[in-house]
């Protein structure tokens, strides 16, 4: 088991007070806090090894390049990918999905094709497909979510067909915390020769994820949600698929050669090898190195332990929140089907006011629709408040949260 009290000592921000109350950070699904090890790795990079990468001859660039490549290797091992060439560093999940839409979708999707998307997706797994569909003319087909918050697998199996070219589904819903059986989805998709893109933004930080076992084609996740810096994230793709794909952005380092042909009057270009083909321009080097440090931190804890810890907290919180008369929890309450994310409402109060009152007591929660408007529509909600846990959260914080919730019920 992990020791959250010891872990807390690694997180400088937890010492901060808000309105004279110790901070209680329950907005982890939006972004996580950073341990001092990650902050130190960033500082150390800039103080000792900073240089542009891609192996210029000089020592600093050699060091920076090695660290940056090591970061890819570390990320590959973390999700059990075959190696660095399957790991593309991007800004985050959103860019990862857009990369697939532009580089794969633009060239592989046409008029009669279909892209399957679930209605519990974050906007970043809806908008790129909707935008592209308007240009390429394919259909976006939405798989229903049941009123209980679970994916409607029957509807999925009904809707998938030979027309389906890719199935885009989140591993864990960022609104309800529901875990989807992506292994099952990928299996069905492959029977129809469709690819599977799994949005792992809410799973990779909280559960063990093994791309080999799941047999998925793309996985996307964001460093900032897993103790890492902002501005860095990962697109995993099966090597053969990445190799067959067109590049996304053009620029330095993603090409092997540009030369000007004076007779043809145009420049000719040859791509670089994976993963660099998809990392045009100077990458977020320090972001990659910070992410590596975050992954090492999580590995020391052990992802099984992370999952177990959050399960305990979630169970406890759900049980305690049930004692609050005006509080309603949305979606499933069974922690065997969901992660440490609890959406809720307080009768008579706007979700934004719930967040505002909690903030007044130093408790940070999210309100609104959390970039998952369609799912809110299914639940018949205008918006919701949301708490979400991570490795540094403790039972006492939940107790305090309940205390304040009860106070808020009185308003």
């Amino acid at each position: 088991m992990l020791d959250p009290y010891k872990i807390r000592e690694d997180f400088p921000i937890l010492k901060r007070k808000i309105n004279n109350y110790p901070i209680i950070y329950f907005d982890n699904a939006a972004t996580s806090q950073k341990p001092k090890q990650v902050i130190e790795a960033i500082k150390n990079f800039y103080e000792n090894h900073n240089a542009n990468v891609h192996r210029a001859v000089h020592t600093l660039s050699q060091e920076a390049s090695e660290l940056y490549e090591e970061a890819h290797e570390e990320a590959a091992r973390f999700i059990n990918a075959k190696g660095m060439e399957e790991i593309i560093f991007v800004r985050g999940t959103t860019e990862a999905i857009n990369l697939v839409a532009y580089s794969w979708g633009c060239h592989n999707l046409t008029k009669d094709d279909e892209v399957i998307v679930s209605l519990m997706e974050h906007h970043s797994n809806i908008v790129p497909w909707e935008l592209l569909s308007r240009v390429r003319g394919f259909n976006v087909v939405y798989v229903n979510v049941k009123k209980n918050g679970k994916l409607d697998y029957a509807d999925f199996e009904n809707k998938i067909s030979k027309k389906t070219k890719i199935v885009c589904v989140s591993h864990v819903s960022n609104m309800s915390g529901v875990i989807n059986d992506v292994k099952r989805i990928a299996k069905v998709a492959h029977e129809y020769n469709a690819l599977t893109l799994v949005d792992g933004a809410q799973s990779v930080p909280h559960l063990p994820v093994d791309v080999n076992d799941l047999d998925i084609d793309f996985l996307t996740f964001s460093g900032h949600k897993m103790l890492g810096p902002t501005g860095i994230g990962v697109l995993y793709g099966k090597r053969e698929i990445l190799e067959s794909m067109e590049p996304f952005q053009g620029g330095g380092e993603m090409i092997r050669e540009v030369s000007f042909n004076a007779t043809k009057k145009r420049c000719s270009i040859a791509w670089n090898i994976l993963p660099w083909k998809f990392e045009a321009g100077t990458p977020n080097v320090c972001g990659g190195i910070g992410l590596m440090e975050a992954i090492k931190y999580l590995k020391r804890i052990g992802m099984e332990n992370v999952k177990a810890h959050e399960e305990i907290l979630t169970k406890y919180a759900i049980q305690k929140m049930a004692e609050c008369k005006k509080v309603e929890i949305y979606g499933p309450k069974d922690t065997s089907v969901k992660c440490g994310i609890i959406p809720f409402g307080v009768e008579g109060l706007s979700s934004h006011d719930v967040a505002l009152f909690l903030d007044n007591y130093g408790i940070m929660v999210r309100s609104g629709f959390h970039c998952a408007q369609p799912l809110h529509e299914i639940f018949g909600l205008k918006s919701s408040a949301r708490i979400s846990f991570y490795v540094y959260n403790i039972r006492e914080e939940i107790d305090r949260f309940i205390e304040v919730l009860k106070e808020i019920e009185q308003i």
């Binding site: 309105n19 004279n20 109350y21 935008l131 308007r134 240009v135 109060l349 706007s350 934004h352 006011d353 505002l356 009152f357 903030d359 007044n360 007591y361 609104g368 629709f369 205008k382 918006s383 205390e403 304040v404 106070e407 308003i411």
Partner: protein, 166 residues
């Protein structure tokens, strides 16, 4: 639990708990809906206006937050018996003062209330087909911040068209 000053002052809380003029008005002269892009909330304003262009009655419906309910409540009070020309002059800042201040994150909720009022007044004249000299042609700050449901839909539709046309 130690008592902290709440984010809302007592006046806002009181107005939230006991809002004035909350509810639909069946005999309204004009109705306007205003949506808030910042939080996704939506309110409806109802005005009953007489021949002298005086607001006889005002009410509102809101699924918004306490700040929104409080400011809407006070706006409907402020404009009762007031000429449209004078009602137009109410700014969101004066409303904010009238409720005794708001947390800065809640400014937009007050803006929405005044936006809905402005929108209703403009609609009244549009329906009548006249445009008084004091009514500016360009949208007021509050109107700009408060989108009409259909307006949102229109922006959207236009976007889709351009995208589809390509």
């Amino acid at each position: 639990m130690s008592r902290m000053p709440l984010p809302y002052n007592p006046k806002v809380l009181e107005l939230f708990r006991n809002p004035k003029n909350l509810g639909k008005m069946e005999d309204a002269t004009v109705t306007a809906v205003a949506g808030n892009p910042a939080c996704g909330d939506m309110i409806t304003f109802y005005l009953k206006i007489n021949e002298q262009e005086v607001i006889e009655k005002a009410s509102f419906e809101s699924y918004g937050c306490a700040a929104n309910i409080a400011t809407s409540s006070i706006v409907t009070e402020m404009i009762k018996g007031v000429k449209l020309e004078d009602a137009w002059k109410i700014s969101w800042k004066s409303v904010r003062e009238a409720v005794g201040g708001l947390p800065s994150i809640k400014f937009h909720c007050g803006v929405l209330a005044v936006g809905a009022l402005h929108r209703a007044i403009r609609k009244y004249y549009k329906n009548k087909g006249v445009s008084p000299s004091w009514l500016p042609e360009g949208l007021s700050f509050e109107e700009k911040q408060a989108l009409e449901e259909e307006e949102l839909a229109k922006i959207l539709e236009k976007r889709l068209k351009t995208a589809e046309g390509k």
